[in-house]
Protein backbone atom coordinates (compact mmCIF):
# COMPACT_ATOMS: atom_id res chain seq x y z
CA UNK A 1 0.00 0.00 0.00
CA UNK A 2 2.87 2.31 0.86
CA UNK A 3 4.70 1.30 -2.26
CA UNK A 4 1.62 2.03 -4.37
CA UNK A 5 1.35 5.52 -2.79
CA UNK A 6 5.03 6.21 -3.51
CA UNK A 7 4.69 5.08 -7.09
CA UNK A 8 1.61 7.23 -7.63
CA UNK A 9 3.26 10.27 -6.04
CA UNK A 10 6.43 9.93 -8.12
CA UNK A 11 5.03 8.66 -11.46
CA UNK A 12 5.78 12.04 -13.09
CA UNK A 13 9.42 11.89 -12.06
CA UNK A 14 9.63 8.34 -13.37
CA UNK A 15 8.19 9.61 -16.66
CA UNK A 16 10.88 12.32 -16.91
CA UNK A 17 13.61 9.85 -16.01
CA UNK A 18 12.33 7.45 -18.66
CA UNK A 19 12.18 10.27 -21.23
CA UNK A 20 15.72 11.25 -20.32
CA UNK A 21 16.87 7.69 -20.79
CA UNK A 22 15.11 7.47 -24.17
CA UNK A 23 16.65 10.80 -25.24
CA UNK A 24 20.09 9.57 -24.26
CA UNK A 25 19.58 6.35 -26.18
CA UNK A 26 18.46 8.29 -29.28
CA UNK A 27 21.47 10.63 -29.05
CA UNK A 28 24.01 7.88 -28.47
CA UNK A 29 22.53 5.72 -31.26
CA UNK A 30 22.70 8.66 -33.66
CA UNK A 31 26.27 9.43 -32.63
CA UNK A 32 27.22 5.81 -33.15
CA UNK A 33 25.66 5.72 -36.63
CA UNK A 34 27.36 9.02 -37.43
CA UNK A 35 30.77 7.75 -36.29
CA UNK A 36 30.40 4.51 -38.23
CA UNK A 37 29.26 6.31 -41.41
CA UNK A 38 31.88 9.05 -41.13
CA UNK A 39 34.69 8.69 -43.69
CA UNK A 40 37.17 9.43 -40.87
CA UNK A 41 39.30 11.86 -42.86
CA UNK A 42 39.73 9.49 -45.81
CA UNK A 43 37.87 11.83 -48.13
CA UNK A 44 40.15 14.69 -47.06
CA UNK A 45 43.23 12.56 -47.65
CA UNK A 46 41.79 11.35 -50.96
CA UNK A 47 41.33 14.95 -52.14
CA UNK A 48 44.90 15.79 -51.07
CA UNK A 49 46.30 12.83 -53.02
CA UNK A 50 44.25 13.88 -56.07
CA UNK A 51 45.64 17.41 -55.82
CA UNK A 52 49.18 16.01 -55.69
CA UNK A 53 48.38 13.74 -58.64
CA UNK A 54 47.12 16.76 -60.61
CA UNK A 55 50.34 18.68 -59.88
CA UNK A 56 52.46 15.66 -60.90
CA UNK A 57 50.44 15.25 -64.08
CA UNK A 58 50.82 18.94 -64.91
CA UNK A 59 54.58 18.72 -64.31
CA UNK A 60 54.78 15.86 -66.80
CA UNK A 61 52.80 17.85 -69.34
CA UNK A 62 55.31 20.72 -68.99
CA UNK A 63 58.11 18.29 -69.84
CA UNK A 64 56.15 16.91 -72.81
CA UNK A 65 55.50 20.42 -74.12
CA UNK A 66 59.15 21.48 -73.69
CA UNK A 67 60.57 18.32 -75.24
CA UNK A 68 58.19 18.64 -78.20
CA UNK A 69 59.48 22.19 -78.65
CA UNK A 70 63.18 21.39 -78.27
CA UNK A 71 63.05 18.25 -80.44
CA UNK A 72 62.02 20.37 -83.45
CA UNK A 73 64.78 22.91 -82.86
CA UNK A 74 63.55 25.05 -79.96
CA UNK A 75 65.90 26.58 -77.39
CA UNK A 76 66.89 24.36 -74.43
CA UNK A 77 66.06 27.22 -72.07
CA UNK A 78 62.37 26.71 -72.80
CA UNK A 79 62.18 23.89 -70.23
CA UNK A 80 63.36 26.06 -67.34
CA UNK A 81 61.09 28.92 -68.40
CA UNK A 82 58.04 26.66 -68.69
CA UNK A 83 58.72 24.97 -65.34
CA UNK A 84 59.13 28.33 -63.60
CA UNK A 85 55.76 29.38 -65.02
CA UNK A 86 54.16 26.14 -63.84
CA UNK A 87 55.66 26.37 -60.34
CA UNK A 88 54.48 29.97 -60.06
CA UNK A 89 50.92 28.89 -60.93
CA UNK A 90 50.99 26.07 -58.36
CA UNK A 91 52.24 28.48 -55.68
CA UNK A 92 49.21 30.72 -56.29
CA UNK A 93 47.00 27.86 -55.11
CA UNK A 94 45.86 27.66 -51.52
CA UNK A 95 44.03 24.36 -51.31
CA UNK A 96 45.13 22.88 -47.99
CA UNK A 97 47.63 25.54 -47.12
CA UNK A 98 50.61 27.20 -48.73
CA UNK A 99 51.85 25.25 -51.77
CA UNK A 100 55.46 25.46 -52.85
CA UNK A 101 56.71 23.60 -55.92
CA UNK A 102 60.42 23.67 -56.67
CA UNK A 103 62.30 21.86 -59.44
CA UNK A 104 65.79 20.99 -60.60
CA UNK A 105 66.66 19.95 -64.14
CA UNK A 106 68.25 16.53 -64.33
CA UNK A 107 72.01 16.71 -64.86
CA UNK A 108 72.87 13.14 -64.05
CA UNK A 109 74.43 11.33 -67.01
CA UNK A 110 73.34 11.17 -69.79
CA UNK A 111 71.07 14.17 -69.13
CA UNK A 112 72.31 17.72 -69.45
CA UNK A 113 70.16 20.65 -68.38
CA UNK A 114 67.16 18.33 -68.30
CA UNK A 115 67.57 16.94 -71.81
CA UNK A 116 69.06 13.87 -73.42
CA UNK A 117 68.70 13.94 -77.19
CA UNK A 118 70.79 11.37 -79.01
CA UNK A 119 69.91 10.61 -82.61
CA UNK A 120 72.47 8.06 -83.73
CA UNK A 121 73.53 6.39 -86.97
CA UNK A 122 73.54 3.02 -85.24
CA UNK A 123 69.85 2.23 -85.50
CA UNK A 124 68.47 3.97 -82.46
CA UNK A 125 67.48 7.46 -81.40
CA UNK A 126 66.16 8.98 -78.21
CA UNK A 127 64.60 12.29 -77.22
CA UNK A 128 64.17 12.64 -73.48
CA UNK A 129 63.64 15.22 -70.75
CA UNK A 130 63.84 14.77 -66.98
CA UNK A 131 63.39 16.94 -63.90
CA UNK A 132 63.10 16.47 -60.13
CA UNK A 133 60.37 18.18 -58.14
CA UNK A 134 59.61 18.85 -54.50
CA UNK A 135 56.05 19.80 -53.60
CA UNK A 136 55.57 21.31 -50.13
CA UNK A 137 52.09 21.81 -48.72
CA UNK A 138 52.04 23.60 -45.43
CA UNK A 139 48.85 24.64 -43.70
CA UNK A 140 46.30 23.95 -40.98
CA UNK A 141 44.47 21.39 -43.10
CA UNK A 142 47.48 19.42 -44.33
CA UNK A 143 51.24 19.30 -44.22
CA UNK A 144 53.12 17.25 -46.76
CA UNK A 145 56.40 17.11 -48.63
CA UNK A 146 56.39 15.07 -51.79
CA UNK A 147 59.48 14.49 -53.93
CA UNK A 148 59.11 13.05 -57.38
CA UNK A 149 61.03 12.66 -60.61
CA UNK A 150 59.40 13.05 -63.99
CA UNK A 151 60.87 11.59 -67.16
CA UNK A 152 59.44 11.91 -70.65
CA UNK A 153 61.03 10.17 -73.61
CA UNK A 154 60.57 8.83 -77.09
CA UNK A 155 62.82 5.98 -78.26
CA UNK A 156 63.25 4.56 -81.73
CA UNK A 157 64.97 1.37 -82.78
CA UNK A 158 65.29 0.72 -86.50
CA UNK A 159 66.96 -2.04 -88.45
CA UNK A 160 66.58 -3.24 -91.97
CA UNK A 161 67.73 -5.13 -95.00
CA UNK A 162 68.26 -4.24 -98.62
CA UNK A 163 67.93 -6.54 -101.62
CA UNK A 164 68.65 -6.10 -105.27
CA UNK A 165 65.71 -5.93 -107.66
CA UNK A 166 67.92 -5.55 -110.71
CA UNK A 167 70.57 -3.14 -111.96
CA UNK A 168 70.52 -0.01 -109.74
CA UNK A 169 67.17 -1.03 -108.23
CA UNK A 170 66.93 -1.84 -104.55
CA UNK A 171 64.18 -2.93 -102.21
CA UNK A 172 64.50 -1.84 -98.57
CA UNK A 173 62.67 -3.51 -95.69
CA UNK A 174 62.75 -1.84 -92.27
CA UNK A 175 61.43 -2.73 -88.83
CA UNK A 176 60.80 0.24 -86.59
CA UNK A 177 60.09 -0.01 -82.87
CA UNK A 178 58.63 3.07 -81.11
CA UNK A 179 58.45 3.36 -77.33
CA UNK A 180 58.01 6.07 -74.71
CA UNK A 181 59.14 6.24 -71.06
CA UNK A 182 56.64 3.59 -70.04
CA UNK A 183 55.96 1.19 -72.88
CA UNK A 184 55.67 0.75 -76.60
CA UNK A 185 53.69 3.56 -78.15
CA UNK A 186 52.11 4.61 -81.39
CA UNK A 187 53.62 7.02 -83.86
CA UNK A 188 51.57 9.91 -85.17
CA UNK A 189 53.77 10.49 -88.19
CA UNK A 190 56.61 8.51 -89.75
CA UNK A 191 58.87 9.87 -92.48
CA UNK A 192 61.55 7.72 -94.09
CA UNK A 193 64.58 8.98 -96.00
CA UNK A 194 67.26 7.10 -97.90
CA UNK A 195 70.68 8.27 -98.93
CA UNK A 196 71.22 8.76 -102.66
CA UNK A 197 74.80 9.90 -103.19
CA UNK A 198 75.28 12.98 -101.01
CA UNK A 199 71.61 13.79 -100.46
CA UNK A 200 68.81 12.44 -98.34
CA UNK A 201 65.69 11.61 -100.37
CA UNK A 202 62.27 11.16 -98.81
CA UNK A 203 60.64 7.86 -99.65
CA UNK A 204 57.08 8.35 -100.90
CA UNK A 205 54.42 6.70 -103.01
CA UNK A 206 56.67 6.84 -106.10
CA UNK A 207 58.94 4.45 -104.19
CA UNK A 208 56.02 2.10 -103.46
CA UNK A 209 56.34 3.06 -99.81
CA UNK A 210 54.37 0.74 -97.59
CA UNK A 211 54.02 1.17 -93.81
CA UNK A 212 52.38 -1.64 -91.87
CA UNK A 213 51.26 -0.68 -88.34
CA UNK A 214 51.08 -3.66 -85.99
CA UNK A 215 49.28 -1.53 -83.38
CA UNK A 216 51.86 -2.21 -80.67
CA UNK A 217 54.54 0.33 -81.56
CA UNK A 218 56.05 -1.92 -84.21
CA UNK A 219 56.04 -0.79 -87.83
CA UNK A 220 57.14 -2.66 -90.93
CA UNK A 221 58.29 -0.27 -93.66
CA UNK A 222 59.27 -1.17 -97.19
CA UNK A 223 60.12 0.82 -100.31
CA UNK A 224 62.14 0.55 -103.47
CA UNK A 225 64.68 3.02 -104.83
CA UNK A 226 67.05 3.47 -107.75
CA UNK A 227 70.21 3.12 -105.70
CA UNK A 228 72.90 0.45 -105.32
CA UNK A 229 71.78 -2.28 -102.91
CA UNK A 230 74.93 -2.24 -100.80
CA UNK A 231 75.27 -0.05 -97.73
CA UNK A 232 71.85 1.58 -98.02
CA UNK A 233 71.55 4.26 -95.37
CA UNK A 234 68.10 5.13 -94.08
CA UNK A 235 66.77 7.73 -91.69
CA UNK A 236 63.43 7.52 -89.86
CA UNK A 237 61.83 10.65 -88.34
CA UNK A 238 58.98 9.86 -85.97
CA UNK A 239 56.54 12.15 -84.18
CA UNK A 240 54.60 10.44 -81.42
CA UNK A 241 51.05 11.38 -80.47
CA UNK A 242 52.48 14.03 -78.09
CA UNK A 243 54.29 15.79 -80.97
CA UNK A 244 57.74 14.73 -79.69
CA UNK A 245 60.23 14.07 -82.48
CA UNK A 246 62.96 11.44 -82.53
CA UNK A 247 65.26 10.41 -85.37
CA UNK A 248 67.12 7.16 -85.90
CA UNK A 249 69.53 6.42 -88.75
CA UNK A 250 70.74 2.99 -89.80
CA UNK A 251 72.64 1.18 -92.49
CA UNK A 252 70.75 -1.73 -93.96
CA UNK A 253 72.36 -5.12 -94.23
CA UNK A 254 72.52 -6.43 -97.79
CA UNK A 255 70.85 -9.77 -98.31
Amino acid sequence: MRLQTFSRHNSGQVLIAAALAIALIICSATMYVHEVAKPSGNVHREFLSEFVLAVKHGSKNVLVSSLANVSVGGENSVLRANLERWCSLVEKQYVFGECLLSFSLSNSSPYMNGFYINWTNKGYGISSAAANFILNIHGDEATAEISYQTVVSLRLVVNGTSESLGPERTRVNLTLQVSNEAANTLAKNITVYYRDGATWVQANSSNNLLVVDYGNGTYRISFSASIPPENVRVSTRVFDTREILAVANATCSYV
Binding site: H34, V43, F47, G74, E243
Partner: protein
Protein backbone atom coordinates in the same frame (compact mmCIF):
# COMPACT_ATOMS: atom_id res chain seq x y z
CA UNK B 1 -7.89 22.06 -5.24
CA UNK B 2 -4.90 19.87 -4.33
CA UNK B 3 -5.98 17.36 -6.98
CA UNK B 4 -6.02 20.16 -9.62
CA UNK B 5 -2.50 21.24 -8.63
CA UNK B 6 -1.32 17.63 -8.88
CA UNK B 7 -2.84 17.36 -12.35
CA UNK B 8 -1.05 20.53 -13.41
CA UNK B 9 2.27 19.15 -12.11
CA UNK B 10 1.66 15.89 -14.04
CA UNK B 11 0.98 17.86 -17.22
CA UNK B 12 4.16 19.84 -16.64
CA UNK B 13 6.14 16.64 -16.10
CA UNK B 14 4.67 15.05 -19.21
CA UNK B 15 5.50 18.21 -21.14
CA UNK B 16 9.09 18.05 -19.87
CA UNK B 17 9.36 14.42 -20.92
CA UNK B 18 8.12 15.22 -24.44
CA UNK B 19 10.53 18.17 -24.59
CA UNK B 20 13.42 15.90 -23.63
CA UNK B 21 12.69 13.39 -26.37
CA UNK B 22 12.10 16.17 -28.90
CA UNK B 23 15.43 17.82 -28.02
CA UNK B 24 17.20 14.52 -28.58
CA UNK B 25 15.90 14.56 -32.18
CA UNK B 26 17.15 18.15 -32.60
CA UNK B 27 20.64 17.14 -31.39
CA UNK B 28 20.61 14.13 -33.74
CA UNK B 29 19.66 16.36 -36.67
CA UNK B 30 22.61 18.66 -36.01
CA UNK B 31 24.91 15.63 -36.16
CA UNK B 32 23.58 14.74 -39.61
CA UNK B 33 24.34 18.26 -40.80
CA UNK B 34 28.03 17.67 -40.16
CA UNK B 35 27.78 14.42 -42.14
CA UNK B 36 26.64 16.49 -45.13
CA UNK B 37 29.89 18.45 -44.98
CA UNK B 38 31.78 15.19 -45.49
CA UNK B 39 29.57 14.47 -48.50
CA UNK B 40 30.60 17.84 -49.95
CA UNK B 41 34.25 16.87 -49.58
CA UNK B 42 33.35 13.74 -51.55
CA UNK B 43 31.90 15.97 -54.25
CA UNK B 44 35.16 17.96 -54.42
CA UNK B 45 37.02 14.69 -54.83
CA UNK B 46 34.61 13.62 -57.56
CA UNK B 47 35.20 16.88 -59.44
CA UNK B 48 38.96 16.54 -59.19
CA UNK B 49 38.78 12.92 -60.43
CA UNK B 50 36.63 13.99 -63.38
CA UNK B 51 39.12 16.68 -64.45
CA UNK B 52 42.07 14.31 -63.96
CA UNK B 53 40.34 11.76 -66.19
CA UNK B 54 39.78 14.33 -68.93
CA UNK B 55 43.38 15.53 -68.67
CA UNK B 56 44.95 12.06 -68.67
CA UNK B 57 46.24 12.24 -72.26
CA UNK B 58 46.46 16.01 -72.51
CA UNK B 59 43.02 16.16 -74.10
CA UNK B 60 41.72 18.84 -71.73
CA UNK B 61 44.53 21.29 -72.57
CA UNK B 62 44.02 20.62 -76.28
CA UNK B 63 40.28 21.32 -76.06
CA UNK B 64 40.98 24.58 -74.19
CA UNK B 65 43.45 25.69 -76.84
CA UNK B 66 40.95 24.86 -79.58
CA UNK B 67 38.22 26.75 -77.70
CA UNK B 68 36.17 23.57 -77.81
CA UNK B 69 33.90 24.49 -74.89
CA UNK B 70 31.10 22.22 -76.10
CA UNK B 71 33.51 19.30 -76.15
CA UNK B 72 34.58 20.00 -72.57
CA UNK B 73 30.94 20.28 -71.44
CA UNK B 74 29.97 17.00 -73.12
CA UNK B 75 33.06 15.24 -71.71
CA UNK B 76 32.25 16.45 -68.19
CA UNK B 77 28.66 15.30 -68.61
CA UNK B 78 30.01 11.88 -69.56
CA UNK B 79 32.37 11.50 -66.60
CA UNK B 80 30.19 13.06 -63.87
CA UNK B 81 27.10 11.31 -62.49
CA UNK B 82 23.83 12.63 -63.94
CA UNK B 83 22.76 13.72 -60.44
CA UNK B 84 25.61 16.24 -60.27
CA UNK B 85 25.25 19.69 -61.85
CA UNK B 86 28.38 21.62 -62.82
CA UNK B 87 29.65 24.94 -64.05
CA UNK B 88 33.23 25.24 -65.31
CA UNK B 89 35.15 28.45 -65.88
CA UNK B 90 38.56 28.47 -67.57
CA UNK B 91 41.17 31.13 -66.80
CA UNK B 92 44.66 31.62 -68.18
CA UNK B 93 47.60 31.90 -65.77
CA UNK B 94 47.10 35.67 -65.59
CA UNK B 95 43.55 35.19 -64.35
CA UNK B 96 41.70 36.19 -67.54
CA UNK B 97 38.54 34.27 -68.26
CA UNK B 98 38.87 32.29 -71.50
CA UNK B 99 35.57 30.54 -72.14
CA UNK B 100 33.20 32.83 -73.97
CA UNK B 101 30.41 30.25 -73.77
CA UNK B 102 29.10 28.68 -70.56
CA UNK B 103 30.40 25.21 -69.76
CA UNK B 104 27.59 24.01 -67.52
CA UNK B 105 24.91 21.38 -67.23
CA UNK B 106 21.91 22.19 -65.10
CA UNK B 107 21.10 25.31 -63.13
CA UNK B 108 23.17 25.43 -59.94
CA UNK B 109 21.13 28.11 -58.19
CA UNK B 110 19.55 27.07 -54.94
CA UNK B 111 21.84 24.06 -54.53
CA UNK B 112 24.70 23.76 -52.07
CA UNK B 113 27.84 24.36 -54.14
CA UNK B 114 31.38 23.10 -53.85
CA UNK B 115 34.25 24.56 -55.83
CA UNK B 116 37.28 22.69 -57.17
CA UNK B 117 40.30 24.39 -58.74
CA UNK B 118 42.34 22.34 -61.19
CA UNK B 119 45.63 23.36 -62.77
CA UNK B 120 46.03 22.27 -66.35
CA UNK B 121 49.31 22.37 -68.27
CA UNK B 122 49.02 21.97 -72.02
CA UNK B 123 51.23 19.61 -74.01
CA UNK B 124 51.40 22.01 -76.91
CA UNK B 125 55.01 22.86 -77.95
CA UNK B 126 53.96 26.48 -77.30
CA UNK B 127 53.41 25.99 -73.58
CA UNK B 128 50.39 27.39 -71.74
CA UNK B 129 48.83 26.65 -68.40
CA UNK B 130 45.30 27.25 -67.16
CA UNK B 131 43.24 27.36 -63.99
CA UNK B 132 39.92 25.55 -64.18
CA UNK B 133 37.29 26.45 -61.59
CA UNK B 134 34.65 23.74 -61.39
CA UNK B 135 31.51 24.35 -59.34
CA UNK B 136 29.51 21.27 -58.45
CA UNK B 137 26.18 20.60 -56.77
CA UNK B 138 23.98 17.60 -56.22
CA UNK B 139 20.64 18.01 -57.99
CA UNK B 140 17.80 17.61 -55.50
Amino acid sequence: MIRNEKAQVRILEAFLAVLLIFSSFVVSDSLFTSTNISRNEGLESLGMQALLTLDSEGVLGKMIEEGNWTGIRESLKAVLPSSVAFNLTVYDDSGHKLNDAPISSNVLEGSELVCVEYLCASRNPRFNCYVLRLQLAVIK
